[in-house]
């Protein structure tokens, strides 16, 4: 009797736990829960993440030109590049952008690449423009003496002197800028932009200032001069101050642009994929529909063919779906259209495990065991089949994950998680429920309920 109570209790616990998890899934999804706005932050922050092909958005692949970078420094440059781009993208207000470095090599290919995913963004062109822009900071020194100035006379009689050939470029550019800070001069309370160069920059700057004492060094931003201070002495600490005629707002903007803008390496756009939001939305609906229909069809088949154990399998499958959905929210897994397909396939695989167990149980029943024993043996014997047949699927999922683009990784991940959880749910959850029923009497009705298909539960002699 005690054993019976224990088993029933276990089933109830599983059901309650599953219900709890199901409630979590329901409450944390905006589209399901009408009171979403009123929920605690924990629920609100755990919505399903949608991949680009479901939310709409862009997938951009940039090639980084590291030809000017020493091999040992490539990784640092790429990471710096990623940080800069990430900052820019964040400034743009995109929710959950993804910026990743893809290293050159066997898997990545020849070039160092940067991959940018911008979900839900409507104006892609603006985004790409903003990402690709390189505020170019240059330091120029005076042209050698005797270079004639260009002067033009405008219509209104004004004389415009073109200074652009008065300055010659040096090697010192924004590449070597470590950071820019906004400061207010202690004497004049005017805003100044303080530049700090990195090691190489410091050396270059020292050289420039040493050779040009008494002359002007022009600081050019995006091709036009923003400041032309006169060098007073050699500057060895790599710090430069740009001052004069900035408003605080201008100074702040400049600091922002310099900091977010000093792209360590130039980038070119290799490929761009944009998916309209409406296409994404319809894909989500279709995916959910297919999943629901698939579930119903499987449930029908299970109950009609396997009867009572089939009903248990349907409950077990529901628990499986709830657990997997909760995992997708918590890990989190970014769902793509293929990812939904992977999840639906894993539903089929989850049922497979149950089928294997039931067929085994049937055999043991036919062999003359009691229901109790048949169930126990069925589980034990079926496990090796389940384990082996799911391993090959897992191998495929792992390799796909390794090799795929972000859209494919979604498929590999949902498939892999689904397979793993299915192994768990078949062995533990189905077992708990079946065990609960195994104390049933050995009546003909019971045996009928436990057998399947067209058989009538009679023991073969």
């Amino acid at each position: 009797m005690k054993k019976m109570i224990k088993k029933i209790l276990l089933s109830l616990i599983v059901l309650v736990l599953a219900g709890g998890v199901g409630l979590f899934v329901y409450k944390s999804e905006y589209k399901l829960n009408k009171n979403f706005g009123a929920e605690k932050a924990f629920f609100q922050n755990n919505q399903f993440r949608l991949g680009l092909d479901l939310s709409g958005g862009s997938h951009l692949i940039y090639k980084a030109d590291v030809s000017a970078v020493a091999p040992g420094e490539i990784e640092d440059s790429m990471n710096a590049l990623r940080d800069v781009i990430e900052r820019r993208v964040n400034l743009f207000g995109v929710s959950e952008p993804v910026v990743q470095v893809q290293k050159a090599g066997f898997i990545g290919g020849e070039d160092e690449k940067l991959i940018v995913d911008l979900p839900g963004i409507t104006d892609v062109d603006q985004a790409t423009k903003m990402i690709g822009q390189t505020p170019l900071l240059e330091f120029k020194i005076e042209a050698p003496e005797g270079t004639p100035q260009n002067a033009t006379v405008g219509e209104d009689g004004k004389v415009n002197v073109d200074l652009s050939n008065q300055f010659v470029s040096t090697d010192l550019t924004g590449r070597y800028l470590k950071k820019a800070i906004l400061e207010f001069s202690s004497q004049t309370q005017e805003p100044t932009v303080n530049l700090q160069f990195d090691e190489t920059g410091t050396k270059l700057f020292a050289e420039i200032t040493k050779n040009n004492v008494g002359k002007m060094v022009a600081i050019y931003l995006d091709g036009s001069p923003i400041s032309t201070p006169v060098v007073r002495q050699e500057i060895l600490d790599g710090q430069a101050v740009i001052s004069g005629s900035f408003t605080p707002v201008e100074a702040k903007q400049l600091v922002g642009r310099l900091n977010s803008g000093a792209l360590p390496v130039p980038i070119t756009l290799l490929s761009k994929q944009t998916i309209g939001a409406s296409l994404g939305g319809s894909a989500v609906k279709a995916g959910v529909k297919a999943g629901a229909i698939g579930f119903i069809l499987i449930a029908l088949f299970l109950v009609l063919w396997y009867r009572l154990p089939g009903l248990i399998a349907v409950i077990s499958l529901s628990v499986f779906v709830i657990i997997v959905l909760a995992l997708f929210k918590l890990i989190p897994v970014t769902l793509t259209a293929a990812g939904i397909a992977g999840f639906i396939i894993s539903m089929g695989i989850a049922v497979d495990a149950n089928v294997l167990i039931f067929e085994r149980v049937k055999e043991e029943l036919r062999g003359g065991r009691t229901i109790n024993d048949a169930v126990a043996q069925g589980f034990t014997r079926a496990w090796s089949s389940i384990r082996d047949s799911n391993t090959s699927t897992l191998i495929t999922a792992v390799i796909l994950f390794w090799f795929g683009t972000s859209l494919i990784k979604g498929f590999a991940l949902t498939l892999g998680i689904g397979v793993l959880v299915s192994m768990l749910s078949a062995i533990t959850i189905t077992k708990v429920f079946l065990n609960t029923l195994s104390f049933m009497s050995e009546s003909k009705v019971a045996r009928f309920l436990f057998s399947s298909g067209f058989s009538n539960g009679k023991i073969k002699n």
């Binding site: 279709a286 294997l356 090959s392 090799f403």
Partner: protein, 302 residues
């Protein structure tokens, strides 16, 4: 057992299907999509009126993007295929398509993939297929390492490879026909489908081999006299569960084909075909091959 006794018939059926598929692939060819070739694909849907195709084609060609393919889709849409486009070119294209906003449109989809990315994807795809195949073969050899009599475990692996090829070639052959008649293109999802078929169909074959292994281990003496009957019995015993496990997957995949997102329709179709032929090969091909190999082997030793 029926299946084993008539193994020749099933060999013939399989061979015919595989040969037909190979012919289909060589004859129809597989169209590489822009994922692998590089290029640009723009899909737009007009709000109210869709401009005439002939005229639009001319104005597109005048843009200087090289050859441009214009395909109508649905009632109000066009798909434009061209070489990969820069942002400015893309904007120019959109302007031309919308007649400078006279015919308002929405852009559903835009993919521009540079050739180097395409090449890289091709390389990755090939490597992934090779890796998965090797991994699966090793796995089978390992899983069946203890079943060395009368057929060595490597033979099991070999049979699994043959059935794998069969399971992959036939759906690809079908796809080639679809490619020819409906313009379906090979993209990354196609490769994913192939890899998934590899994984799923093997798991199916293992269900059958598993039962054979179990029955073989029960027998005291296994030789050519009872090998085929043991295999036959195993097949009978595992028939129901093999069909049912595959049925559940196929049912779910068919739901995907008919109700799932448009972007993965061909993907789901490929998987369905792969699953179907995978089941066929697991039941009618893998065990029959096993018996046949054993017969060949025993003839040699005699």
């Amino acid at each position: 057992m029926f299946i084993i006794k008539n193994k020749k018939i099933f060999f013939i059926i399989s061979t015919v299907l595989v040969v037909a598929s190979i012919i289909s692939i060589s004859f129809f060819g597989l169209k590489a999509g822009i994922d692998f070739k590089g290029g640009a694909l723009t899909e737009v849907v007009y709000d109210q009126t869709r401009p005439d195709q002939g005229e639009l084609q001319k104005s597109l060609e005048n843009l200087g993007f090289g050859s441009v393919l214009l395909q109508p889709t649905g009632e109000l849409g066009y798909i434009v295929k061209s070489r990969d486009l820069t942002d400015e070119e893309h904007n120019l294209l959109l302007e031309t398509l919308s007649n400078n906003n006279v015919n308002a449109l929405q852009e559903f989809n835009f993919n521009s993939i540079g050739p180097s990315v395409g090449q890289e994807l091709t390389r990755k795809a090939i490597v992934a297929i090779i890796l998965v195949s090797i991994a699966i073969i090793l796995f089978i050899a390992y899983a069946f390492r203890k079943v060395s009599k009368p057929v060595s475990s490597w033979r099991y692996g070999f049979i699994a490879i043959v059935t794998l090829l069969h399971d992959v070639l036939i759906p690809v052959g079908i796809f080639a026909a679809l490619s020819h008649y409906f313009g379906a293109e090979v993209d990354t999802l196609f490769v994913v489908a192939i890899l998934t078929i590899l994984g799923l169909s093997v798991s199916d074959t293992i269900v059958v081999f598993d039962r054979i292994r179990e029955n073989l281990s029960k027998e005291v003496k296994v030789d050519s006299s009872n090998f085929s009957s043991i295999v036959g019995n195993s097949l009978t015993q595992s028939f129901a569960r093999s069909i049912n496990t595959s049925l559940t997957l196929i049912v779910v995949l068919i739901a995907l084909v008919f109700f799932g997102p448009v972007s993965i329709k061909y993907f789901a179709l490929m998987l369905t075909a792969g699953m179907f032929f995978g089941t066929y090969s697991s039941i009618f091909l893998s065990s029959t091959l096993l018996v046949w190999i054993e017969e060949m082997q025993s003839k040699k030793t005699i």
